[in-house]
Structure formats: C-alpha cells, structure tokens
C-alpha cells in the first residue's frame, strides 16, 4: 500500500517535471496537471494511510480514525488547481492565437540584442 502510493506520487511527479520542461504549451499544461495530481495524492498521504476508517470518531474511546484535515486540504487544492489549469489553458490559447506559435519561450527582439 505505502509502496504503491509512494511510487505513484514519484512517477506522476517525474512525468510532470519532464513535460514541464518541454518547449510547447500543450505538454507544459499536461505537466502541470500531472504535478497537481501528484501533489493531491501526496497531501492525502500526509495524514497517514488508513483504510476503511471513518474521518470522525464513531464512538468515544474508539481511537482508530483517519485524519480529516488532509482531506479538507486536498479538496481545496483540487479546486484551486482545477481553476488554475482552466486559466492556463485560456492564456495559452490566447498566446497561441496572438503569436501563431505555441512555443513557450520568448525570442529576443532586435532592441534586446542590439542588432
């Protein structure tokens, strides 16, 4: 279980970082999405992994429950990353339509190089 979750976070992060370093808008957006999935799973695991436990105490004195706080954090993080991805897609699309190119780097203008 721990190995599965840890390797899932690792693989998602590696894939996300690789895609983030590409030069085109679309892979970068996918990379950001993969990274946010990775961080969501990671946050979930930060409250320890517990299976089939309720997030609140069912009876007083029954001490086994799963930590509810990371679940609330993950929910917030999911909402924010979803909204941010939407904004990123719109800005990426806008930049592509303005520049006729989806390269993410900026070439130097003549004034910058002194040519």
């Amino acid at each position: 279980m721990e190995f599965l979750v840890a390797s899932a976070v690792g693989v998602l992060t590696a894939g996300g970082v690789y895609l983030l370093l590409r030069l085109r808008t679309f892979p970068v957006i996918l990379g950001i999405a993969l990274l946010s999935y990775a961080v969501n799973v990671f946050l979930f695991a930060s409250g320890r992994l517990a299976i089939d436990k309720s997030p609140i105490l069912a009876k007083y004195g029954e001490a086994s429950y799963t930590d509810p706080l990371p679940q609330a954090l993950v929910l917030t993080a999911i909402v924010i990353s979803f909204g941010m991805t939407a904004v990123l897609v719109m800005i990426g699309l806008g930049a592509y339509l303005e520049a006729d190119s989806d390269r993410i780097d900026i070439e130097d203008t003549e004034e910058d190089t002194g040519a």
Partner: protein, 514 residues
C-alpha cells in the same frame, strides 16, 4: 472580538464582484467605486496600524473556532505595516491607471485590481500556512488577469511564462505543506512555532526538508537567484501601472520568509536554526549582482527598471538572511523604500514611454515636457540607486550597518556598493539618452503617416497623471525626513517579530479574552 482585522480582506472581496456584475459596462461607476473602496482600505489600514502600534498581537478567529483548529487572522505590527504599505501603494497606482486610461484598455481591470488587493492583504494577515497558500493563489490568479490586461503578442507570451512559473511554484508549496503537516501535525504558524522547537535535531530531517521547500517557494515570489528569471520578462511586459502594483508582490515573498522562517524555523530552534540564512545570504548576493549587470546591459527602459527591482530584492533579502532584530529593522525600512521607489519608476516610465511610443533607450527628438519628466526620472532614479537625499541612501546605510558580521561584511559590502555604482551608471546612461541627448536632436520632417504618433508625443501630462508619481516621491522624501521615528517603529516591529513566545501566547490564547 474585533471585526476590523478581517475588513481589509472582506472589503475588496465584496467590492470586486459588485463592480464585476453591476458595473460591467459603466467605466465611470467602476472607477468611482474602485477609488472609494481603495481609499476606505487605506483608512482601515491606518486604523489597524494605530491599533497594532500599541504593541499587542491581536487575533481574529474565523467562525470563533479556537486557534490551532480554526483559521485565525493575526494582526501585529508587521502585518499592519504591510497592509498599510499595500493600501497606500494601491491608491497611488489606481489613480495613475485611471488618469492615464490604462484601466479602459481592456476589460475588468478594477475587478481584478480589488481581488488582487484581497489576496495581498489576506496573505499579510493570515496566521495559518495553508491559508497563506490560498491567499497566494487568490493574488496570483488576479495577477494573471492584470498581467495580460490590454493584451498584445509579447504580453501574452510573457504572461504565459509567468503563469506556468507560478503554477509550478504553487505545486511546490503544496508539497512543502504536506511534508510539514506529516512531520508536525499542524499548519497554524503559532502552533508550528510552539511545536518545532521541541523536536530534537536528529528527528527534524523532514522538518528541514519542508523548511527548505517553503524557502524555495517564497524565493520564487521574492525573485531571488536562482529563481529570479521570471521577473524581468514579466515586469517589463506587464502594463506599467500593473508593474508598479507588482512592486508589492515581491515583498509578499520577503514577508513570508520573515514570518515563517523567523517564527517557525528561526533562531533558537535546534532542528533548523541558521539553515535558512546560510542558503539565503549567498543567493541574495548573487541576486544583487544579477540586478546590477541587468541594469547595465538593458537596452530598453522597462527591463532596466525591472532589473533594478531584482537588485533591490537582493539587498533586502541579504538583510533578511541575517535573521536578527537589528538586521530586520534595516530590512523593513529598505522594504518600504524599495516598494515606493520601484512603483514610482514604473509610473514615470509609463508617462515617458507613452509619449516616446517606444521604450528603447535611443535618443530621439525630445517630447513635450521633457524637462519635467527628466526631473522626475532623476529623482526616482536617485531613490532607487540609493543616493542622498532620498530614503534609498538611509535604507542602504542601515542594511550595510546590519551586515557587519565577520564573514559577511566582505561579500555584502562589495556586492551592495558595487551594485549601487553599476545601478547609478545604468540609470545615468538611460537618463542622458532619454532626456539629455534628445534635446540636441532637431524635430524630424513631418510625414503624413507620422501624424498620429505626433499627437501622442505632444500630449501634455495632466496634473492627475503626474500626481501619483509625485506622491510616491513624496513618500520617499518623507521616509528620509522622518527616518528617526520610522526606524523606531520598525525596531519595535522586529522586536515583536522575534518574540516567539509572545506570538504563540497571543494566538493560541492561553488566556481567554473577548
């Protein structure tokens, strides 16, 4: 419980949707509402500063949940100072944006502006690290909209880079928070400050990882080497009033480093003591160098100012990296100064570039009011470079004085003094090209095609367009004239910041008071 503390967040949060939904097509109403709201925010900020100046750390419990379980807003001298700085800068920038018509060049300027203020004030007032993340996202998503306001090819592409950079930073922030929660079981800053010092150094490896991840995240916001590269492209392509407002955004990063790395990971914590400063200090020195060389190498006005902002952030963070009350006093003084100096330069550059129709640093025939613009630029450049009589000189003097520890003095003094020299040279060259050599060139023969450009060249600046830049200069002069009282206030501020037990007691509420 006092409700004033939450008002700097609630007020813009209510006004922004009001402008967005009710005054979508009425720019006049939107302008008036936005101005009134920002002026009110300034009044609230002054009130809060007066309250905080009495020396007590005040808290506001949202939903009345007690501190480590619910979210708290914390008002101490430092947060009050930052909110006041934000509100006064916002009013100056807003008047400039309205007077020059920048706000009408795209849609929803005022909505985004108010949401931006909400995020910035929230980041300064919150007492919870996860809440800090949420407010970072609020201010960032508003800044994405402001950054690409009025559109254009270069601006959209620079905006895309800015967004990607900050989204990657946000992901890192979440990883840091997860690590911190896994190792301490809390995200409340006061609770962290109470718990982390009790962790023995041998068990603090995860806490150290979290501390450094947080440091990287805040360094991205504060534009410190090696993550400073987004700043020049962003600031030089953003609309000028937005770039002026962004002068406070880098300070949000510096504030977060001061707050979190002093209270939670700061001096006296066995697991993490001295770690932040060890890494931050060399990074800040390199940042000063990058800023100085950038100013020398820039061939356009906006990147030149953006690089001078990078250099000032380096100077500021070199003082922050000492993590002692004396150095923090110097850092706070320099922080207030550099915010207004950068904003002032961007506002003046906007007036100049609008008339020259290009921000290249080549001499072209002088535009209207050449002497006035030259004088304003000269004054603002003096402030930024750190020459007397404006507050930049005193600020750098305080920073140099704070960095006298052996092992630090050599690097810090060399970098700051040489950096200032290069900045002066860069600004002098820019100023003489823009304003001085221009006067020796004769007017070009008028082509019919140049008629439109000629109208822009000869449009005199109105009093309302000049007032914001002059107000920012007046703040710099005031900060220099009243340096004694200001420094005394900043000294109280940093003493309070380093009083960890006082903060913890006030927030976690050992004694109940309503």
């Amino acid at each position: 419980m006092m409700h004033w503390i939450v008002l700097p967040i609630v007020l813009p949060a209510m006004v922004a949707p009001l402008i967005g939904f009710v005054m979508r097509n009425d720019i006049t109403m939107a302008r008036i509402t936005s101005l009134v709201s920002t002026a009110l925010l300034l009044c609230i900020a002054i009130g809060l500063t007066a309250m905080a100046a009495q020396g007590e750390t005040l808290t506001y419990r949202l939903g009345d949940w007690p501190a480590p379980f619910g979210i708290v807003m914390v008002l101490d001298r430092l947060s009050a100072l930052m909110v006041l700085l934000t509100a006064s800068l916002a009013l100056i920038v807003l008047i400039h944006a309205i007077a020059t018509g920048w706000d009408a060049r795209g849609r929803h300027f005022h909505v985004l502006f108010q949401f931006q203020l909400m995020g910035i004030c929230g980041a300064f007032l919150t007492g919870d690290v996860f809440n800090l993340f949420v407010f970072f996202e609020v201010l960032l998503i508003a800044s994405y909209g402001l950054m690409i306001h009025a559109g254009g090819r270069a601006r959209m592409r620079a905006g895309l880079q800015y967004v990607v950079m900050n989204l990657a930073g946000s992901t890192l922030f979440l990883f840091a928070l997860g690590t911190l929660y896994a190792s301490t079981g809390t995200l409340n800053i006061a609770d962290l400050a109470a718990k982390i010092p009790t962790i023995p150094p041998d068990d603090a490896a995860l806490v150290r990882v979290a501390a450094m991840l947080l440091m990287i995240v805040f360094a991205v916001k504060a534009a410190v080497f090696p993550v400073q590269f987004w700043l020049p492209a962003t600031y030089s392509n953003a609309p000028a009033p937005v770039a002026a407002l962004f002068a406070i955004m880098t300070k949000v990063g510096a504030y977060a480093i001061l707050r979190v790395h002093t209270l939670a990971f700061g001096p006296g914590v066995p697991g993490t003591e001295g770690m932040a400063g060890t890494w931050l200090f060399p990074a800040a020195i390199v940042t000063i160098a990058i800023g100085a060389f950038g100013v020398i190498g820039a061939r356009r006005l906006m990147p030149l100012i953006a690089f001078s902002v990078v250099g000032s952030m380096g100077t500021l963070l070199a003082a922050v990296a000492v993590f002692s009350p004396t150095a923090t006093t110097a850092a706070l003084y320099y922080m207030v100064h550099s915010t207004f100096a950068a904003a002032c330069l961007f506002l003046i550059a906007d007036l100049v570039v609008t008339r020259r129709q290009s921000d290249t640093l080549d001499p072209i025939p002088a535009t209207v009011q050449n002497g006035l613009f030259a004088a304003l630029f000269f004054a603002a450049a003096i402030g930024m470079a750190g020459m007397p009589p404006l507050s930049g000189f005193l600020g750098k003097l305080l920073v140099l004085d704070a960095l006298r520890a052996p092992g630090m003095i050599g690097w810090a003094w060399t970098a700051i003094l040489l950096g200032s020299l290069l900045t002066i040279v860069g600004f002098a060259r820019a100023g003489s090209n823009l304003f001085w050599k221009s006067t020796t060139l004769s007017e070009p023969a008028l082509d019919p095609g140049e008629q439109r450009g000629d109208a822009a060249r000869s449009r005199t600046a109105t009093a309302a367009q000049l007032a914001p830049a002059m107000a920012a200069l007046a703040v710099l002069a005031g900060l220099a004239a009243f340096a004694g009282p200001a420094a005394a206030y900043f000294e109280d501020t940093s003493t309070q910041l380093f009083d960890r037990s006082g903060y913890v007691a006030a927030v976690l509420g050992t004694g109940e008071e309503d």
